[in-house]
Protein backbone atom coordinates (compact mmCIF):
# COMPACT_ATOMS: atom_id res chain seq x y z
CA UNK A 1 0.00 0.00 0.00
CA UNK A 2 1.41 3.38 -1.01
CA UNK A 3 0.90 6.33 1.29
CA UNK A 4 0.81 10.00 0.32
CA UNK A 5 1.00 12.65 2.99
CA UNK A 6 -0.08 15.98 1.55
CA UNK A 7 0.66 19.20 3.38
CA UNK A 8 -0.26 17.77 6.76
CA UNK A 9 -0.19 19.96 9.88
CA UNK A 10 -1.12 19.35 13.49
CA UNK A 11 -0.95 21.56 16.56
CA UNK A 12 -1.51 20.68 20.20
CA UNK A 13 -3.39 23.64 21.66
CA UNK A 14 -1.24 26.27 19.98
CA UNK A 15 1.98 24.32 19.78
CA UNK A 16 2.68 23.15 16.22
CA UNK A 17 3.86 19.54 16.43
CA UNK A 18 3.83 18.80 12.70
CA UNK A 19 4.04 21.53 10.04
CA UNK A 20 3.22 21.19 6.34
CA UNK A 21 4.66 17.75 5.89
CA UNK A 22 4.79 16.37 2.34
CA UNK A 23 5.79 12.74 1.99
CA UNK A 24 5.35 10.08 -0.65
CA UNK A 25 5.81 6.47 0.47
CA UNK A 26 5.75 3.93 -2.35
CA UNK A 27 4.39 0.42 -1.77
CA UNK A 28 6.85 -1.87 -0.05
CA UNK A 29 9.17 0.93 1.02
CA UNK A 30 11.00 0.81 4.34
CA UNK A 31 10.96 4.34 5.71
CA UNK A 32 12.62 5.79 8.79
CA UNK A 33 11.29 8.95 10.41
CA UNK A 34 14.42 10.34 11.98
CA UNK A 35 14.70 13.39 14.19
CA UNK A 36 15.51 14.67 17.65
CA UNK A 37 13.11 14.35 20.57
CA UNK A 38 9.99 16.45 20.11
CA UNK A 39 10.40 16.80 16.35
CA UNK A 40 6.94 15.37 15.66
CA UNK A 41 7.84 11.85 14.53
CA UNK A 42 5.39 10.04 16.77
CA UNK A 43 2.66 12.55 15.98
CA UNK A 44 3.13 12.01 12.23
CA UNK A 45 3.13 8.24 12.65
CA UNK A 46 -0.02 8.36 14.76
CA UNK A 47 -1.70 10.52 12.13
CA UNK A 48 -0.91 7.91 9.48
CA UNK A 49 -2.48 5.27 11.74
CA UNK A 50 -5.52 7.45 12.40
CA UNK A 51 -4.80 7.62 16.14
CA UNK A 52 -4.43 11.39 15.86
CA UNK A 53 -6.58 13.78 13.87
CA UNK A 54 -5.20 16.24 11.31
CA UNK A 55 -5.60 20.01 11.52
CA UNK A 56 -5.09 20.38 7.81
CA UNK A 57 -3.85 18.41 4.83
CA UNK A 58 -4.67 14.96 3.52
CA UNK A 59 -3.49 11.41 3.86
CA UNK A 60 -4.00 9.11 0.89
CA UNK A 61 -3.67 5.32 0.88
CA UNK A 62 -3.15 4.04 -2.66
CA UNK A 63 -4.42 7.36 -3.98
CA UNK A 64 -7.68 7.21 -1.99
CA UNK A 65 -8.42 9.88 0.57
CA UNK A 66 -8.14 8.20 3.98
CA UNK A 67 -7.97 11.41 6.01
CA UNK A 68 -11.27 10.82 7.75
CA UNK A 69 -11.18 7.05 7.92
CA UNK A 70 -11.13 5.42 11.35
CA UNK A 71 -8.18 3.50 12.71
CA UNK A 72 -10.09 0.31 12.08
CA UNK A 73 -10.79 1.10 8.45
CA UNK A 74 -7.14 1.82 7.71
CA UNK A 75 -6.00 -1.70 8.56
CA UNK A 76 -2.56 -0.67 9.68
CA UNK A 77 -0.36 -2.62 12.02
CA UNK A 78 0.96 -0.43 14.82
CA UNK A 79 3.76 -1.35 17.19
CA UNK A 80 3.86 0.90 20.21
CA UNK A 81 7.02 2.17 21.78
CA UNK A 82 6.35 0.36 25.03
CA UNK A 83 4.79 -2.61 23.24
CA UNK A 84 1.36 -2.21 24.88
CA UNK A 85 0.84 -5.94 25.11
CA UNK A 86 -2.36 -6.98 26.87
CA UNK A 87 -1.04 -7.79 30.29
CA UNK A 88 -3.87 -10.06 31.37
CA UNK A 89 -3.65 -12.26 28.27
CA UNK A 90 -1.19 -14.97 27.40
CA UNK A 91 1.08 -14.56 24.40
CA UNK A 92 -1.28 -16.74 22.40
CA UNK A 93 -4.28 -14.58 23.27
CA UNK A 94 -2.31 -11.42 22.53
CA UNK A 95 -1.42 -12.53 19.05
CA UNK A 96 -4.87 -13.98 18.41
CA UNK A 97 -6.67 -10.80 19.55
CA UNK A 98 -6.91 -9.13 16.15
CA UNK A 99 -8.45 -12.27 14.65
CA UNK A 100 -10.83 -12.94 17.52
CA UNK A 101 -12.40 -9.47 17.46
CA UNK A 102 -13.39 -9.76 13.82
CA UNK A 103 -17.10 -9.82 13.07
CA UNK A 104 -18.38 -13.38 12.99
CA UNK A 105 -18.79 -13.64 9.25
CA UNK A 106 -15.09 -13.15 8.51
CA UNK A 107 -13.66 -14.50 11.71
CA UNK A 108 -11.44 -17.53 11.14
CA UNK A 109 -12.33 -20.75 12.95
CA UNK A 110 -10.65 -21.65 16.24
CA UNK A 111 -8.36 -24.05 14.46
CA UNK A 112 -7.38 -21.52 11.81
CA UNK A 113 -6.66 -18.93 14.49
CA UNK A 114 -4.49 -21.40 16.32
CA UNK A 115 -2.56 -22.26 13.18
CA UNK A 116 -2.10 -18.61 12.26
CA UNK A 117 -0.85 -17.69 15.74
CA UNK A 118 1.66 -20.50 15.75
CA UNK A 119 2.82 -19.55 12.28
CA UNK A 120 3.43 -15.98 13.44
CA UNK A 121 5.17 -17.11 16.59
CA UNK A 122 7.44 -19.24 14.43
CA UNK A 123 8.14 -16.18 12.31
CA UNK A 124 9.26 -14.23 15.38
CA UNK A 125 10.97 -17.37 16.72
CA UNK A 126 9.09 -17.44 20.00
CA UNK A 127 6.77 -20.39 19.60
CA UNK A 128 7.86 -21.84 22.94
CA UNK A 129 6.48 -18.84 24.84
CA UNK A 130 2.91 -19.29 23.71
CA UNK A 131 1.46 -19.81 27.20
CA UNK A 132 3.41 -17.13 29.03
CA UNK A 133 2.16 -13.74 30.12
CA UNK A 134 3.83 -10.54 28.87
CA UNK A 135 5.29 -9.85 32.31
CA UNK A 136 7.25 -13.10 32.04
CA UNK A 137 9.04 -11.98 28.86
CA UNK A 138 12.22 -10.02 28.27
CA UNK A 139 12.08 -6.66 26.51
CA UNK A 140 13.28 -8.05 23.20
CA UNK A 141 10.78 -10.90 23.35
CA UNK A 142 7.94 -8.49 24.12
CA UNK A 143 8.96 -6.42 21.14
CA UNK A 144 8.78 -9.40 18.87
CA UNK A 145 5.41 -10.47 20.24
CA UNK A 146 4.12 -6.93 19.68
CA UNK A 147 5.18 -7.26 16.07
CA UNK A 148 3.60 -10.70 15.70
CA UNK A 149 0.38 -9.33 17.14
CA UNK A 150 0.38 -6.44 14.67
CA UNK A 151 1.09 -8.78 11.76
CA UNK A 152 -1.73 -11.14 12.70
CA UNK A 153 -4.34 -8.92 11.07
CA UNK A 154 -2.33 -8.93 7.84
CA UNK A 155 -1.91 -5.18 7.61
CA UNK A 156 -0.80 -3.57 4.41
CA UNK A 157 1.09 -0.91 6.30
CA UNK A 158 3.27 -1.50 9.33
CA UNK A 159 3.98 1.43 11.63
CA UNK A 160 6.53 1.16 14.42
CA UNK A 161 7.24 3.80 17.06
CA UNK A 162 10.83 3.54 18.24
CA UNK A 163 10.66 -0.21 17.99
CA UNK A 164 13.98 -0.80 19.68
CA UNK A 165 14.08 2.26 21.90
CA UNK A 166 13.98 0.45 25.21
CA UNK A 167 16.41 -2.34 24.42
CA UNK A 168 20.10 -2.78 25.04
CA UNK A 169 22.64 -2.38 22.28
CA UNK A 170 23.14 -6.04 21.44
CA UNK A 171 19.46 -6.93 21.30
CA UNK A 172 18.83 -3.83 19.19
CA UNK A 173 21.40 -4.97 16.69
CA UNK A 174 19.86 -8.42 16.41
CA UNK A 175 16.34 -7.10 16.09
CA UNK A 176 17.34 -4.64 13.36
CA UNK A 177 18.54 -7.43 11.14
CA UNK A 178 15.57 -9.51 12.01
CA UNK A 179 13.07 -6.72 11.20
CA UNK A 180 14.75 -6.14 7.84
CA UNK A 181 14.47 -9.83 7.11
CA UNK A 182 10.80 -9.85 7.97
CA UNK A 183 10.27 -6.85 5.76
CA UNK A 184 12.01 -8.63 2.93
CA UNK A 185 9.87 -11.72 3.45
CA UNK A 186 6.51 -9.96 3.69
CA UNK A 187 7.26 -6.79 1.75
CA UNK A 188 4.78 -4.67 3.73
CA UNK A 189 5.10 -0.90 3.45
CA UNK A 190 6.86 -0.07 6.71
CA UNK A 191 7.40 3.23 8.52
CA UNK A 192 9.39 3.33 11.71
CA UNK A 193 10.31 6.13 14.05
CA UNK A 194 13.75 6.49 15.51
CA UNK A 195 16.00 9.15 16.92
CA UNK A 196 19.05 6.98 16.34
CA UNK A 197 20.75 7.99 13.09
CA UNK A 198 22.74 4.79 12.96
CA UNK A 199 19.57 2.73 13.11
CA UNK A 200 18.00 4.78 10.33
CA UNK A 201 21.09 4.61 8.11
CA UNK A 202 21.44 0.90 8.62
CA UNK A 203 17.85 -0.18 8.15
CA UNK A 204 15.88 2.19 5.96
CA UNK A 205 15.43 2.44 2.21
CA UNK A 206 14.29 6.01 2.68
CA UNK A 207 15.09 8.37 5.52
CA UNK A 208 12.87 11.29 6.40
CA UNK A 209 14.77 13.72 8.58
CA UNK A 210 12.48 15.79 10.76
CA UNK A 211 13.12 18.81 12.92
CA UNK A 212 10.67 20.98 14.83
CA UNK A 213 7.70 19.42 13.09
CA UNK A 214 9.06 19.94 9.60
CA UNK A 215 10.72 17.65 7.10
CA UNK A 216 14.32 18.72 6.50
CA UNK A 217 15.22 16.14 3.90
CA UNK A 218 13.93 12.97 2.30
CA UNK A 219 16.32 10.59 0.64
CA UNK A 220 18.18 7.32 0.66
CA UNK A 221 20.72 6.79 3.46
CA UNK A 222 23.52 7.66 1.01
CA UNK A 223 21.82 10.87 -0.07
CA UNK A 224 21.12 12.19 3.40
CA UNK A 225 24.51 11.20 4.69
CA UNK A 226 26.70 12.33 1.80
CA UNK A 227 24.56 15.11 0.41
CA UNK A 228 22.81 16.63 3.39
CA UNK A 229 20.36 19.33 2.39
CA UNK A 230 21.33 21.60 5.22
CA UNK A 231 23.32 22.08 8.34
CA UNK A 232 20.71 20.42 10.53
CA UNK A 233 20.74 17.20 8.55
CA UNK A 234 24.51 17.27 8.40
CA UNK A 235 24.90 17.63 12.13
CA UNK A 236 22.14 15.22 13.00
CA UNK A 237 23.54 12.38 10.93
CA UNK A 238 26.88 12.17 12.66
CA UNK A 239 29.34 13.83 14.96
CA UNK A 240 30.49 17.24 13.78
CA UNK A 241 32.85 20.04 14.61
CA UNK A 242 31.54 23.53 14.17
CA UNK A 243 33.90 26.21 13.00
CA UNK A 244 32.65 29.72 13.37
CA UNK A 245 33.65 33.31 12.87
CA UNK A 246 37.29 34.20 12.78
CA UNK A 247 38.47 30.62 12.94
CA UNK A 248 36.47 29.86 9.83
CA UNK A 249 37.57 32.78 7.74
CA UNK A 250 41.16 32.05 8.70
CA UNK A 251 41.01 28.37 7.83
CA UNK A 252 39.21 28.88 4.56
CA UNK A 253 41.15 31.56 2.82
CA UNK A 254 39.44 30.92 -0.46
CA UNK A 255 36.16 32.02 0.95
CA UNK A 256 36.21 35.73 0.68
CA UNK A 257 32.69 36.91 1.06
CA UNK A 258 31.46 34.79 3.94
CA UNK A 259 28.49 36.31 5.69
CA UNK A 260 28.78 37.01 9.35
CA UNK A 261 27.65 34.09 11.46
CA UNK A 262 28.32 31.49 8.82
CA UNK A 263 29.21 28.12 10.28
CA UNK A 264 31.53 25.61 8.74
CA UNK A 265 31.28 21.92 9.59
CA UNK A 266 33.68 19.04 9.49
CA UNK A 267 33.25 15.47 10.68
CA UNK A 268 35.77 14.27 13.25
CA UNK A 269 37.10 11.57 10.97
CA UNK A 270 37.84 14.12 8.27
CA UNK A 271 40.38 15.98 10.36
CA UNK A 272 43.86 14.84 9.35
CA UNK A 273 46.52 14.91 12.03
CA UNK A 274 50.27 15.15 11.40
CA UNK A 275 53.21 15.39 13.72
CA UNK A 276 55.14 17.69 11.46
CA UNK A 277 53.80 20.65 9.60
CA UNK A 278 53.54 20.44 5.85
CA UNK A 279 52.52 24.03 5.63
CA UNK A 280 48.82 23.23 5.71
CA UNK A 281 48.01 22.38 9.30
CA UNK A 282 47.17 24.47 12.30
CA UNK A 283 48.75 23.88 15.62
CA UNK A 284 46.57 22.02 18.13
CA UNK A 285 47.13 20.60 21.57
CA UNK A 286 45.83 17.16 22.53
CA UNK A 287 43.51 17.61 25.50
CA UNK A 288 42.11 14.12 25.83
CA UNK A 289 42.50 10.73 24.13
CA UNK A 290 40.21 7.74 24.43
CA UNK A 291 39.65 4.73 22.28
CA UNK A 292 36.25 3.26 21.51
CA UNK A 293 36.57 -0.14 19.91
CA UNK A 294 38.35 0.28 16.62
CA UNK A 295 38.46 4.06 16.67
CA UNK A 296 40.41 6.58 18.68
CA UNK A 297 38.85 9.91 19.62
CA UNK A 298 40.88 12.97 20.49
CA UNK A 299 39.87 16.23 22.00
CA UNK A 300 41.97 18.98 20.44
CA UNK A 301 42.47 22.59 21.44
CA UNK A 302 43.57 25.05 18.84
CA UNK A 303 46.69 26.82 20.04
CA UNK A 304 45.94 30.35 18.88
CA UNK A 305 42.18 30.61 19.44
CA UNK A 306 41.52 27.97 22.12
CA UNK A 307 38.67 26.52 20.01
CA UNK A 308 37.93 22.86 20.81
CA UNK A 309 37.61 20.18 18.12
CA UNK A 310 37.07 16.46 18.12
CA UNK A 311 39.06 14.21 15.81
CA UNK A 312 38.44 10.55 15.12
CA UNK A 313 41.07 8.14 13.82
CA UNK A 314 41.02 4.50 12.99
CA UNK A 315 43.41 2.40 15.01
CA UNK A 316 45.58 2.06 11.90
CA UNK A 317 45.97 5.78 11.24
CA UNK A 318 46.52 6.28 14.92
CA UNK A 319 49.38 3.79 14.81
CA UNK A 320 50.81 5.44 11.70
CA UNK A 321 50.76 8.73 13.51
CA UNK A 322 52.90 7.26 16.26
CA UNK A 323 52.60 7.61 20.01
CA UNK A 324 50.57 10.60 21.07
CA UNK A 325 49.84 11.60 24.61
CA UNK A 326 47.93 14.31 26.38
CA UNK A 327 49.54 17.71 26.02
CA UNK A 328 51.32 16.91 22.74
CA UNK A 329 51.20 19.39 19.90
CA UNK A 330 49.98 18.25 16.49
CA UNK A 331 49.22 19.79 13.12
CA UNK A 332 45.61 19.45 12.05
CA UNK A 333 44.43 19.71 8.48
CA UNK A 334 40.78 20.58 7.85
CA UNK A 335 40.31 19.27 4.37
CA UNK A 336 36.60 19.05 3.90
CA UNK A 337 34.90 21.93 5.57
CA UNK A 338 31.26 22.14 4.59
CA UNK A 339 29.38 25.40 4.54
CA UNK A 340 25.66 25.80 4.05
CA UNK A 341 24.70 29.08 2.56
CA UNK A 342 21.43 29.53 4.36
CA UNK A 343 21.73 28.94 8.01
CA UNK A 344 19.63 26.76 10.32
CA UNK A 345 16.20 28.10 10.99
CA UNK A 346 15.40 28.79 7.37
CA UNK A 347 16.92 25.49 6.50
CA UNK A 348 13.97 23.74 4.93
CA UNK A 349 14.41 25.56 1.66
CA UNK A 350 16.75 23.87 -0.73
CA UNK A 351 20.25 24.97 -0.17
CA UNK A 352 23.39 24.76 -2.03
CA UNK A 353 26.13 22.97 -0.34
CA UNK A 354 29.58 24.26 -0.90
CA UNK A 355 32.72 22.41 -0.19
CA UNK A 356 36.03 24.02 0.37
CA UNK A 357 39.45 22.72 0.55
CA UNK A 358 41.20 24.58 3.20
CA UNK A 359 44.36 26.37 2.36
CA UNK A 360 46.45 27.47 5.23
CA UNK A 361 49.18 29.96 5.41
Amino acid sequence: MGISICDVSKAFSSFPAVKNVELEIPTGDFVALLGPSGSGKTTLLRMIAGLESLDSGKILFNGLDYTNKTVKERKVGFVFQHYALFRHMTIFENVAFGLKVRPRRNRPSKREIKEKVHELLRLVQLEHLVDRYPSQLSGGQRQRIALARALAVEPEVLLLDEPFGALDAKVRQELRHWLREIHQKLNITTVFVTHDQEEALEMADTIVVMNKGMVEQIGSPEEVYHHPANAFVYSFLGRVNEITGKALSETTLRVTDLEKGTVGYIRPHEIVLKKTSEGLGMLVEVVHIHSVGSTVRMQLKRRDTDDLYEAELTIETYKELGAVSKGDLLHAEFNNIVVFENEPGTSHSLQEQTKFTAAFN
Binding site: G77, L85, G98, V101, R102
Partner: protein, 286 residues
Protein backbone atom coordinates in the same frame (compact mmCIF):
# COMPACT_ATOMS: atom_id res chain seq x y z
CA UNK B 1 45.64 -7.24 64.08
CA UNK B 2 44.57 -7.57 67.67
CA UNK B 3 43.02 -4.16 67.87
CA UNK B 4 41.05 -4.92 64.74
CA UNK B 5 39.52 -7.98 66.28
CA UNK B 6 38.55 -6.03 69.31
CA UNK B 7 36.75 -3.40 67.32
CA UNK B 8 35.03 -6.06 65.30
CA UNK B 9 33.79 -7.73 68.42
CA UNK B 10 32.65 -4.44 69.80
CA UNK B 11 30.79 -3.63 66.62
CA UNK B 12 28.79 -6.84 66.51
CA UNK B 13 27.69 -6.51 70.10
CA UNK B 14 26.56 -2.98 69.39
CA UNK B 15 24.54 -4.29 66.49
CA UNK B 16 23.03 -6.96 68.73
CA UNK B 17 22.03 -4.42 71.34
CA UNK B 18 20.51 -2.24 68.68
CA UNK B 19 18.55 -5.10 67.14
CA UNK B 20 17.32 -6.27 70.54
CA UNK B 21 16.17 -2.74 71.22
CA UNK B 22 14.51 -2.67 67.81
CA UNK B 23 12.61 -5.86 68.46
CA UNK B 24 11.41 -4.58 71.84
CA UNK B 25 10.18 -1.45 70.18
CA UNK B 26 8.53 -3.44 67.43
CA UNK B 27 6.58 -5.63 69.84
CA UNK B 28 5.67 -2.65 71.96
CA UNK B 29 4.17 -0.92 68.94
CA UNK B 30 2.37 -4.04 67.79
CA UNK B 31 1.04 -4.55 71.30
CA UNK B 32 -0.33 -1.04 71.53
CA UNK B 33 -1.94 -1.33 68.12
CA UNK B 34 -3.51 -4.69 69.00
CA UNK B 35 -4.78 -3.40 72.33
CA UNK B 36 -6.35 -0.44 70.61
CA UNK B 37 -7.95 -2.55 67.90
CA UNK B 38 -9.22 -5.03 70.45
CA UNK B 39 -10.67 -2.39 72.69
CA UNK B 40 -12.36 -0.31 70.07
CA UNK B 41 -13.25 -2.80 67.38
CA UNK B 42 -13.17 -6.39 68.48
CA UNK B 43 -14.87 -5.94 71.85
CA UNK B 44 -17.81 -3.97 70.42
CA UNK B 45 -18.18 -6.51 67.64
CA UNK B 46 -18.27 -9.36 70.13
CA UNK B 47 -20.61 -7.36 72.32
CA UNK B 48 -23.06 -7.06 69.44
CA UNK B 49 -23.18 -10.81 68.95
CA UNK B 50 -23.25 -11.73 72.63
CA UNK B 51 -25.97 -9.19 73.31
CA UNK B 52 -27.95 -10.47 70.30
CA UNK B 53 -27.69 -14.11 71.34
CA UNK B 54 -28.03 -13.50 75.09
CA UNK B 55 -31.62 -14.68 75.25
CA UNK B 56 -31.13 -17.63 72.97
CA UNK B 57 -31.01 -18.45 69.31
CA UNK B 58 -34.77 -18.66 69.03
CA UNK B 59 -35.35 -15.09 70.09
CA UNK B 60 -32.51 -14.01 67.85
CA UNK B 61 -34.18 -15.41 64.74
CA UNK B 62 -37.58 -14.28 65.88
CA UNK B 63 -36.27 -10.73 65.99
CA UNK B 64 -35.02 -11.07 62.43
CA UNK B 65 -38.21 -12.40 60.88
CA UNK B 66 -40.48 -10.06 62.75
CA UNK B 67 -42.40 -8.20 59.94
CA UNK B 68 -40.90 -4.76 60.51
CA UNK B 69 -37.37 -6.12 60.75
CA UNK B 70 -37.95 -8.22 57.67
CA UNK B 71 -39.25 -5.17 55.81
CA UNK B 72 -36.16 -3.23 56.83
CA UNK B 73 -33.91 -6.01 55.59
CA UNK B 74 -35.73 -6.13 52.29
CA UNK B 75 -35.60 -2.36 51.87
CA UNK B 76 -31.88 -2.37 52.58
CA UNK B 77 -31.30 -5.07 50.00
CA UNK B 78 -33.41 -3.24 47.42
CA UNK B 79 -31.61 0.03 48.08
CA UNK B 80 -28.21 -1.59 47.66
CA UNK B 81 -29.41 -3.50 44.62
CA UNK B 82 -30.28 -0.21 42.92
CA UNK B 83 -27.54 2.05 44.25
CA UNK B 84 -24.57 -0.25 43.81
CA UNK B 85 -25.07 -1.08 40.11
CA UNK B 86 -25.83 2.55 39.30
CA UNK B 87 -22.72 3.75 41.08
CA UNK B 88 -20.70 1.00 39.48
CA UNK B 89 -21.76 1.90 35.95
CA UNK B 90 -21.44 5.64 36.39
CA UNK B 91 -18.32 5.19 38.45
CA UNK B 92 -16.65 3.28 35.64
CA UNK B 93 -17.75 5.89 33.11
CA UNK B 94 -16.56 8.81 35.23
CA UNK B 95 -13.27 7.14 36.06
CA UNK B 96 -12.75 6.30 32.40
CA UNK B 97 -13.39 9.90 31.37
CA UNK B 98 -11.13 11.33 34.03
CA UNK B 99 -8.29 8.86 33.74
CA UNK B 100 -8.09 8.47 29.99
CA UNK B 101 -9.09 11.81 28.51
CA UNK B 102 -8.02 15.38 28.86
CA UNK B 103 -10.76 17.95 28.99
CA UNK B 104 -11.56 21.29 30.50
CA UNK B 105 -13.09 21.12 33.93
CA UNK B 106 -11.51 17.79 34.82
CA UNK B 107 -10.42 19.07 38.22
CA UNK B 108 -13.86 20.48 38.82
CA UNK B 109 -15.30 17.05 38.08
CA UNK B 110 -12.88 15.45 40.53
CA UNK B 111 -13.95 17.91 43.19
CA UNK B 112 -17.60 17.14 42.52
CA UNK B 113 -16.93 13.44 42.93
CA UNK B 114 -15.39 14.07 46.33
CA UNK B 115 -18.29 16.10 47.66
CA UNK B 116 -20.19 13.11 49.09
CA UNK B 117 -17.10 12.26 51.15
CA UNK B 118 -16.49 15.84 52.21
CA UNK B 119 -20.01 16.74 53.17
CA UNK B 120 -21.77 15.40 56.26
CA UNK B 121 -24.38 12.75 55.30
CA UNK B 122 -27.00 14.70 57.22
CA UNK B 123 -26.45 17.67 54.94
CA UNK B 124 -26.68 15.36 51.95
CA UNK B 125 -30.06 14.17 53.18
CA UNK B 126 -31.21 17.71 53.80
CA UNK B 127 -30.31 18.72 50.27
CA UNK B 128 -32.69 16.10 48.95
CA UNK B 129 -35.41 17.28 51.32
CA UNK B 130 -34.86 20.84 50.10
CA UNK B 131 -35.09 19.68 46.51
CA UNK B 132 -37.88 17.15 46.59
CA UNK B 133 -39.69 17.78 49.90
CA UNK B 134 -43.20 19.26 49.93
CA UNK B 135 -41.73 22.68 50.72
CA UNK B 136 -38.84 22.10 48.36
CA UNK B 137 -38.04 23.46 44.92
CA UNK B 138 -39.55 20.59 43.01
CA UNK B 139 -42.15 19.83 45.72
CA UNK B 140 -45.21 21.35 43.99
CA UNK B 141 -44.34 19.68 40.68
CA UNK B 142 -43.95 16.28 42.33
CA UNK B 143 -47.14 16.71 44.33
CA UNK B 144 -49.03 17.57 41.17
CA UNK B 145 -47.89 14.40 39.47
CA UNK B 146 -48.35 12.36 42.60
CA UNK B 147 -44.72 11.33 42.80
CA UNK B 148 -43.41 10.68 46.27
CA UNK B 149 -39.69 10.88 46.83
CA UNK B 150 -39.08 12.17 50.30
CA UNK B 151 -40.31 9.89 53.10
CA UNK B 152 -40.46 7.14 50.53
CA UNK B 153 -38.22 4.54 48.94
CA UNK B 154 -36.98 6.72 46.00
CA UNK B 155 -35.59 9.27 48.45
CA UNK B 156 -33.74 6.59 50.37
CA UNK B 157 -32.25 5.21 47.16
CA UNK B 158 -31.28 8.69 45.95
CA UNK B 159 -29.60 9.59 49.23
CA UNK B 160 -27.75 6.28 49.25
CA UNK B 161 -26.55 6.77 45.67
CA UNK B 162 -25.31 10.21 46.59
CA UNK B 163 -23.43 9.11 49.67
CA UNK B 164 -21.82 6.07 48.08
CA UNK B 165 -20.92 7.47 44.67
CA UNK B 166 -17.20 8.11 45.26
CA UNK B 167 -16.24 4.57 46.28
CA UNK B 168 -16.03 3.01 42.82
CA UNK B 169 -14.70 6.09 41.00
CA UNK B 170 -12.06 6.80 43.58
CA UNK B 171 -10.89 3.23 43.50
CA UNK B 172 -10.67 3.14 39.71
CA UNK B 173 -9.10 6.49 38.80
CA UNK B 174 -5.58 5.74 40.04
CA UNK B 175 -5.64 2.24 38.54
CA UNK B 176 -6.81 3.50 35.17
CA UNK B 177 -4.40 6.42 35.18
CA UNK B 178 -1.60 4.06 35.98
CA UNK B 179 -2.45 1.81 33.07
CA UNK B 180 -2.69 4.60 30.51
CA UNK B 181 -4.38 4.18 27.15
CA UNK B 182 -1.77 2.19 25.27
CA UNK B 183 -3.53 -1.15 25.51
CA UNK B 184 -6.84 0.32 24.37
CA UNK B 185 -5.15 2.00 21.43
CA UNK B 186 -3.47 -1.27 20.55
CA UNK B 187 -6.85 -3.01 20.65
CA UNK B 188 -8.30 -0.41 18.30
CA UNK B 189 -5.46 -0.72 15.81
CA UNK B 190 -6.10 -4.47 15.86
CA UNK B 191 -9.64 -3.85 14.73
CA UNK B 192 -11.59 -4.05 18.00
CA UNK B 193 -14.66 -1.84 18.36
CA UNK B 194 -15.51 0.18 21.48
CA UNK B 195 -17.37 -2.59 23.30
CA UNK B 196 -14.76 -5.20 22.51
CA UNK B 197 -12.06 -2.85 23.71
CA UNK B 198 -13.90 -2.23 26.96
CA UNK B 199 -14.89 -5.79 27.75
CA UNK B 200 -11.74 -7.52 26.55
CA UNK B 201 -9.05 -5.02 27.52
CA UNK B 202 -10.17 -2.32 29.92
CA UNK B 203 -12.44 -4.34 32.19
CA UNK B 204 -10.09 -7.29 32.77
CA UNK B 205 -7.36 -4.84 33.70
CA UNK B 206 -9.46 -3.10 36.33
CA UNK B 207 -11.56 -6.01 37.56
CA UNK B 208 -10.00 -6.42 41.00
CA UNK B 209 -10.01 -2.71 41.70
CA UNK B 210 -13.58 -2.58 40.51
CA UNK B 211 -14.64 -5.45 42.77
CA UNK B 212 -12.91 -3.75 45.67
CA UNK B 213 -14.76 -0.51 45.00
CA UNK B 214 -18.05 -2.35 44.61
CA UNK B 215 -17.84 -4.17 47.94
CA UNK B 216 -16.90 -1.00 49.78
CA UNK B 217 -19.74 0.80 48.04
CA UNK B 218 -22.11 -2.00 48.98
CA UNK B 219 -21.04 -2.01 52.63
CA UNK B 220 -21.67 1.68 52.87
CA UNK B 221 -24.95 1.51 50.94
CA UNK B 222 -26.31 -1.04 53.40
CA UNK B 223 -24.92 0.66 56.46
CA UNK B 224 -25.64 4.31 55.67
CA UNK B 225 -27.52 6.04 58.49
CA UNK B 226 -27.32 9.83 58.40
CA UNK B 227 -28.51 10.78 54.93
CA UNK B 228 -31.10 8.03 54.84
CA UNK B 229 -32.39 9.00 58.25
CA UNK B 230 -33.16 12.52 57.07
CA UNK B 231 -35.12 11.49 53.97
CA UNK B 232 -36.79 8.35 55.29
CA UNK B 233 -39.41 9.62 57.68
CA UNK B 234 -39.00 6.44 59.74
CA UNK B 235 -42.24 4.80 58.71
CA UNK B 236 -42.16 1.32 60.18
CA UNK B 237 -42.37 -1.49 57.74
CA UNK B 238 -42.13 0.95 54.87
CA UNK B 239 -39.19 3.34 54.94
CA UNK B 240 -36.85 1.91 57.52
CA UNK B 241 -33.57 0.41 56.48
CA UNK B 242 -31.61 -1.87 58.79
CA UNK B 243 -29.63 0.91 60.51
CA UNK B 244 -32.77 2.99 61.05
CA UNK B 245 -34.64 -0.02 62.37
CA UNK B 246 -31.83 -0.77 64.81
CA UNK B 247 -32.03 2.74 66.16
CA UNK B 248 -35.78 2.54 66.67
CA UNK B 249 -35.54 -0.78 68.48
CA UNK B 250 -32.74 0.55 70.61
CA UNK B 251 -34.65 3.67 71.54
CA UNK B 252 -37.51 1.43 72.63
CA UNK B 253 -35.16 -0.46 74.97
CA UNK B 254 -35.68 -3.57 72.88
CA UNK B 255 -32.02 -4.45 73.18
CA UNK B 256 -32.09 -8.06 72.10
CA UNK B 257 -33.94 -7.28 68.89
CA UNK B 258 -31.79 -4.20 68.26
CA UNK B 259 -28.59 -6.20 68.60
CA UNK B 260 -29.96 -9.09 66.60
CA UNK B 261 -30.68 -6.82 63.65
CA UNK B 262 -27.42 -4.97 64.19
CA UNK B 263 -25.58 -8.28 64.07
CA UNK B 264 -26.60 -8.51 60.41
CA UNK B 265 -24.66 -5.34 59.69
CA UNK B 266 -21.74 -6.68 61.67
CA UNK B 267 -21.82 -9.86 59.60
CA UNK B 268 -21.93 -7.77 56.46
CA UNK B 269 -18.87 -5.90 57.68
CA UNK B 270 -17.03 -9.14 58.33
CA UNK B 271 -17.96 -10.54 54.94
CA UNK B 272 -16.82 -7.30 53.31
CA UNK B 273 -13.48 -7.53 55.09
CA UNK B 274 -12.98 -11.12 54.05
CA UNK B 275 -13.74 -10.37 50.40
CA UNK B 276 -11.60 -7.26 50.58
CA UNK B 277 -8.57 -9.10 51.82
CA UNK B 278 -9.12 -11.81 49.26
CA UNK B 279 -9.15 -9.18 46.53
CA UNK B 280 -6.06 -7.57 47.97
CA UNK B 281 -4.31 -10.89 48.01
CA UNK B 282 -5.34 -11.48 44.39
CA UNK B 283 -4.17 -8.09 43.19
CA UNK B 284 -0.84 -8.51 44.93
CA UNK B 285 -0.35 -11.79 43.14
CA UNK B 286 -0.84 -10.09 39.78
Amino acid sequence: MVSREVTLHFDTSAVKVASRFDSIRKWLLIGVALLFLGLFILVPLLAVFSEALKKGVQLYFAALIEPNAWAAIKLTLVTAAVAVPINTIFGVIAAWAIAKFNFEGKNFMLTLIDIPFAVSPVIAGLVFVLLFGSQGMLGPFLAEHNIKIIFAVPGIVLATIFVTFPFVVRELIPIMQDQGTDEEQAAITLGANGWQTFFRVTLPNIKWGLLYGVILCNARAMGEFGAVSVVSGHIRGLTNTIPLHVEILYNEYNFTAAFAVASLLALLALATLVIKSMVEWKTQKH
